[in-house]
């Protein structure tokens, strides 16, 4: 009997170990791509691999060509604005239009060289590997419109020295996306590590628990697509049309939900059912989870760009050579550019306190067709929201401060042609704003008066990644105090923020009056007692 049990134990243990080995190579999939005959081939280009993929995955091309990762275009269902990287102007490198092979290096396709055209329509122009490679050696060249390096020359999209990608190895390794598949582009938005978002940096490849409780290998070890769930190559979660609050919560048991919201896993009453939990749950109709649970952004040692003044760009040294200054030192001792002739002045933030505002999820862009008021700080993207609408919550944002070019006569932001090593109009090559704007506007087919100036801008980035462990959530008193974090947010009542409001003052006067009243009374008593010779009590 005992022997039999032991034997069963050994067999079970071996079985589990065998399962573990199998999982390592194929995950939970029923297919091992390294065994597919069509992938036993010396691939010479990305599109060749895609062709092989599509021979089995017959619907993938059609699904993917309509996704925002491929179209870079998004028609906002609420505002009707046509957004997406193809169209918007931002406070960083400005625009994709006019800078194609550089910016489209992160396009999930191959060979998009002209923003005035839709992306290449050939079925094989999709890049399957950038998302599905799990060999971790596939990458894209920084300036080749999405193509991978096939020799060790140039730089990759993360700024690393390029290596010769083994396409066969990559093709045979395919699986569901890991953190690096998404991160290699999304962590480097704006042309460098954590430049754009503030809450998406290379730290998230292998974050420590205190940086990201979900993605940390010490924690849940989740990957991006665990939250950004996909259905036929369409992903949940949008920065243009955010689900600012999610009253649906987890849904019914077993109900499949396609929402990248905290509530879709944690529900709408996430805190434990005790007195403290009830009080914390009281906050859920005003605050986004992120406002408390992401105490700071740009955590883990990689700063984010917080200020970018393009107007000072173009200053050269005595020999007419571009200058670089590296006066920002990060917490890990890294020196970062604070001035570049190509880009102007920068500043950075690390462990930064967010900017807070009511947010209903709708983001309106100051697109090329919008008139701006150059006497004011222009909001590159306007975030909408109001307490009374029932769906808005107070959200944390990175508020990027910029100073960027606009058309003085037409009063609109402009597209700028900054990248172009071989053109005589690119700003980074020629340091001539007039030519760079003219070329950028031509590339985008937009009218340009020929007169430009610079205007102060704000750009808002919703903070939703880098969720800290619960014990590191924002302390109550960070907001519940005079001039706390939410001091500029209208439409909230918060205990502790106004001890000297008129009721507070009235109350203090009442107590002080009674105090001085009894003190006066006591003094009179002592005084009269001595004069009357009374020794009561």
């Amino acid at each position: 009997m005992i022997l039999k049990r032991t034997l069963t134990g050994v067999v079970l243990a071996l079985g589990v170990a065998g399962l573990a080995v199998a999982e390592e190579s194929t995950g939970s999939s029923t297919a091992d791509h390294s065994k597919f005959p069509i992938l036993q081939k010396d691939f010479k280009s990305g599109p060749e691999v895609t062709e092989a993929c599509l021979s089995c995955h017959t619907e993938a091309d059609n699904q993917f060509m309509h996704s925002i990762h491929f179209t870079w275009e998004y028609e906002h269902p609420e505002t009707g604005q046509v957004l997406g990287k193809k169209n918007v102007i931002n406070a960083f490198c400005g625009s994709v239009a006019g800078n194609e092979p550089r910016c489209t290096s992160c396009h999930a396709g191959y060979g998009w060289e002209d923003m005035s055209q839709p992306p290449p329509q050939a079925a094989t122009a999709k890049d399957c590997l950038v998302c599905h490679d799990t060999s971790d050696q596939y990458t894209k060249l920084a300036t080749a419109a999405g193509h991978p390096p096939l020799e060790a020359k140039g730089k990759t999209i993360t700024g690393a020295k390029a290596w010769a990608v083994d396409l066969t190895k990559a093709a045979q390794s395919v699986g569901m996306p890991d953190r690096d598949n998404c991160g290699n582009c999304h962590f480097y938005g704006g042309g460098g590590d954590n430049v754009k978002h503030g809450d998406l940096s290379s730290v998230l490849y292998e974050p420590s628990l205190d940086v990201d409780v979900h993605m940390s290998p010490e924690g849940e070890n989740m990957v991006c697509s665990d939250c950004h769930v996909s259905d036929r190559h369409q992903w949940a979660g949008s920065r243009y049309n955010v689900l600012a609050s999610d009253p649906h919560g987890t849904g019914k048991p077993g109900e499949e939900r396609h929402a990248a919201s905290c509530q879709s896993c944690h529900g709408n009453e996430p805190h434990p059912a005790n007195i403290k939990g009830l009080k914390l749950n009281d906050h859920s109709d005003t605050l986004a989870c992120q406002s408390c649970h992401i105490p700071e952004f740009a955590r883990g040692g990689v700063p984010t760009k917080s200020f970018w003044d393009w107007s000072t760009a173009g200053r050269l040294d005595e020999d007419g050579k571009p200058i670089k200054e590296d006066n920002y030192v990060s917490s890990t001792g890294q020196h970062l550019h604070t001035y570049m002739s190509t880009k102007g002045d920068f500043d950075y933030q690390e462990d930064a306190t967010p900017y807070y505002a009511w947010f209903d999820g709708q983001v309106e862009y100051t697109t090329i067709d919008r008139k701006i008021d150059p006497t004011k700080t222009v909001e590159v993207n306007v975030i909408h929201g109001d307490r009374a609408d029932g769906t808005s919550r107070i959200w944390p944002f990175k508020r990027m401060e910029g100073r960027q070019a606009y058309d003085k006569v037409n009063e609109n932001l402009v597209y700028t042609h900054v990248w172009g090593p071989t053109t005589d109009t690119a700003f980074w090559t020629n340091f001539d704003w007039g030519k760079a704007i003219d070329a950028g506007m031509k590339a985008a087919n937009q009218p340009y008066s020929g007169e430009f100036d610079f205007v102060d801008t704000y750009m808002y980035w919703p903070i939703t990644h880098m969720v800290a462990p619960a014990e590191n959530a924002v302390e109550c008193a960070e907001c519940h105090q005079e001039n706390g974090r939410l001091v500029d947010v209208a439409g909230v009542f918060m205990p502790g923020t106004d001890p000297n409001g008129w009721v507070g003052l009235l109350g203090k006067v009442i107590v002080l009056m009674s105090f001085f009243g009894v003190m006066g009374h006591a003094v009179l008593r002592i005084f009269s007692r001595t004069s009357n010779g009374d020794h009561h009590g």
């Binding site: 109709d285 109550c476 107590v511 009561h536």
Partner: protein, 219 residues
């Protein structure tokens, strides 16, 4: 009339009083912290302490109300106009002249008329105001809708105002313990339960034969 040492505050009443002192002190200190008057206690723990003390006090009040009505002690708290003027005159004038306290504590009536009136206002208006607003404050999420900012602001400010009025009461209450027979003499009965009371021969005889435990033997 004979002066006798009579038990005027039974154990429950003393317990009630001192627990109330403790809980109200906790509520005052934590409440002021939550209001932003001081930052001696971190906000989160202060909320917890404030809530638990408030719930404790409410439970105590439920017991006390039950006790007041079952024992008939509630009558002690009904104010009477009679004697109020002479009390007011005493505090405003007589006390400075070294006059005797005009109110003689009776075993069936422990409070002087001004005291009774004060407690009446406190128990019927201020305390209900603070616990009704407090409960609404605590249960905000159960009744609030999207636009409850005005309501919660009003509730919070009423809560605050009531708290300050109670604060003022505490100042005067503690001070008045020093008037008349002196602080120690005034606090002692609330600790031991016994106070010196003028008894009519009938009262004395009644207590001796019916409630001998309430009388201390004449020494």
């Amino acid at each position: 009339m004979a002066k006798r040492i009579v038990k005027v505050y039974p154990l429950f009443e003393r317990l009630w009083h001192w627990m109330q002192v403790l809980l109200i002190l906790i509520l005052m200190i934590t409440g002021m912290g939550l209001n932003g008057v001081h930052d001696a206690i971190p906000f989160g723990p202060a909320v917890m302490l404030h809530t638990l003390a408030a719930l404790g006090l409410l439970a105590l009040w439920i017991f006390a109300t039950f006790w007041l009505f079952t024992t008939g002690t509630w009558k002690q708290f009904i104010p009477k106009i009679e004697g109020m003027l002479s009390m007011a005159r005493y505090y405003a004038y007589g006390v400075f002249q070294g006059e005797e306290h005009p109110y003689e504590k009776m075993f069936w009536r422990k409070h002087n008329p001004l005291q009774a009136a004060t407690y009446f206002v406190l128990k019927w208006f201020i305390f209900p105001a603070i616990w009704i607003t407090g409960l609404l404050y605590l249960t905000y999420n159960l009744w609030s809708s999207g636009d409850s900012v005005v309501a919660i602001t009003l509730i919070a400010n009423l809560h605050l105002l009531s708290a300050y009025v109670i604060g003022a009461f505490i100042v005067v209450h503690v001070y008045l313990l020093t008037v008349g027979h002196g602080f120690k003499e005034h606090v002692k009965p609330m600790v031991t339960g016994y106070d010196q009371i003028d008894l009519t021969p009938e009262q004395e005889a009644y207590l001796e034969s019916n409630e001998p435990d309430r009388l201390k033997p004449v020494s």
